[in-house]
Symmetry: C2
Subunit: 275 residues, 2 copies
């Protein structure tokens, strides 16, 4: 039984950027998206991180598309510099030529005009670097970026809806909230994800293991995962209980009942429980 | 030209864990491994995050193996609880049955005996949960875990060397340093990765883009990536310069020369540069 086994709607995340592969940047975009998706009742099935390289990206995009998830969110590589190549990678994966999209061009143009006005300078030239941000695969549409210059991109491939969002976290989050969340809400049918943690001390994870098995066996649809913080001498273990369901299925009660049972078993085995 | 284009030795990272997919845990294991690998002259080509699910893992492991990277590092899912399924996933991917490995069993046994001695309790029973940590795919070998109870695992598949390390960061890092790094050092031939950042203010990324193109064109083997921190009104952009090479190829000089040229161009365009 998988943690998100009840969540029928699935998503894959692809993050583009060498900075993620060389560990210069920690991938908080993926964790933000994972957390936000699960809170909406969407199960993230896989996260893939690829380089700023058209062939690498295109291969990864094709692989993810071949698994046919209902939703794909790609982040990073939409900016004006040469290393922003995500739309080239997408064009190759979709076999759809890149061309200037008039709606996207208007979005970019309006942003730069607003900046120029704000700074009181005559700067509304559409340079090649700016036109680049409005050059999309033919089969895609631009999505308004409320915070930055590069529009997001949306397309559908068979039953998959695919979004490309900028790598700058504030812009990624803003477009996700404004343009992706409303779509996700339509498809989840009111199923949500619920979680609760309890903490066990003075008991080793290997002693806990069979106790977790008992509680999971007795409580269908509750998933319990142990996260050992330290097991050398003084074990401290987080037990993360989760479930999903519609509110009328009383998922919160299921969690509380399981946490209470597990807590009793841990105490009987000589451990200490805290909430 | 890819950032790590000169690094001949490649690695893929696979991180197993629902907690990464639901955003409960930020994937610092992947960024630590990426940073450590590149510092040794190894290019991480892809990071894949999969669920604690045998079929999902096995599929991901097979996909990564099919790309034939010289090194694969898998993290997570080696512990004693039911949700630690990475070795089941690996057994399926390798088509190699799980069996108790006597060397691994001795490693686990010694750890628990040491803990029991430390805590002055009679606790050296090999319970099913403990034997589980010593149950490996037949074609693999255990690797000493200097900090925790679950041994790492190593195997070779054709020309790929594959390691499985625990998900607890301190244990993952300790095994990597002790058992993976010496192997990586043997294969890189003294090529290392070098990096340097400069910061540009009062210039927009779209104005910077053609300047970066000029400097990269003039300086072969130097890769420059811009990281906009904010482009709304007051742009602040990190320019990350990187290269790789043997020390006698003077990679540091290449970086300094490129940084100096880029800095001059930015100032000419009205921007402010800081180091």
């Amino acid at each position: 039984m998988a943690e998100c086994g009840h969540l029928a709607v699935e998503m894959e995340i692809i993050c583009v950027g060498n900075e993620l592969l060389i560990g210069k940047v920690v991938n908080t975009n993926a964790s933000w998206l994972g957390k936000r998706a699960i809170s909406l009742g969407i199960a993230v099935k896989r996260i893939t991180v690829v380089a700023d390289d058209v062939d690498e990206m295109s291969a990864a995009f094709c692989e993810v598309l071949s698994r046919k998830p209902p939703f794909i969110v790609i982040t990073g590589g939409l900016g004006p510099t040469f290393d922003d190549k995500t739309l080239q990678g997408l064009a190759k994966a979709l076999n759809s030529p890149l061309e200037v999209n008039e709606d996207a061009l208007q979005m970019v143009n309006e942003k730069y005009n607003a900046y120029a006005k704000m700074r009181n300078v005559p700067d509304c030239k559409m340079t090649p670097s700016r036109i680049k941000m409005a050059t999309l695969p033919r089969s895609t549409l631009p999505v308004i970026n409320p915070l930055g210059t590069a529009p997001g991109v949306k397309t559908c491939v068979l039953d998959t809806t695919l979004f490309v969002l900028p790598g700058v976290p504030s812009e990624m989050e803003a477009i996700f909230e404004e343009s992706v969340v409303p779509l996700l809400r339509q498809v989840t049918g009111g199923v949500s994800f619920y979680e609760k943690s309890i903490y066990a001390d003075k008991i080793m994870e290997s002693v806990l293991a069979p106790l977790i098995d008992i509680v999971m066996h007795d409580n269908a649809n509750v998933y319990i995962k142990s996260h050992p913080k330290q097991e050398e001498g003084k074990p401290h273990i987080e037990l993360h209980l989760s479930t999903s369901g519609k509110p009328d299925e009383k998922p919160q009660e299921r969690l509380n009942k399981s946490a209470s049972e597990l807590s009793t078993l841990i105490k009987q085995a000589g451990g200490i429980v805290s909430f």
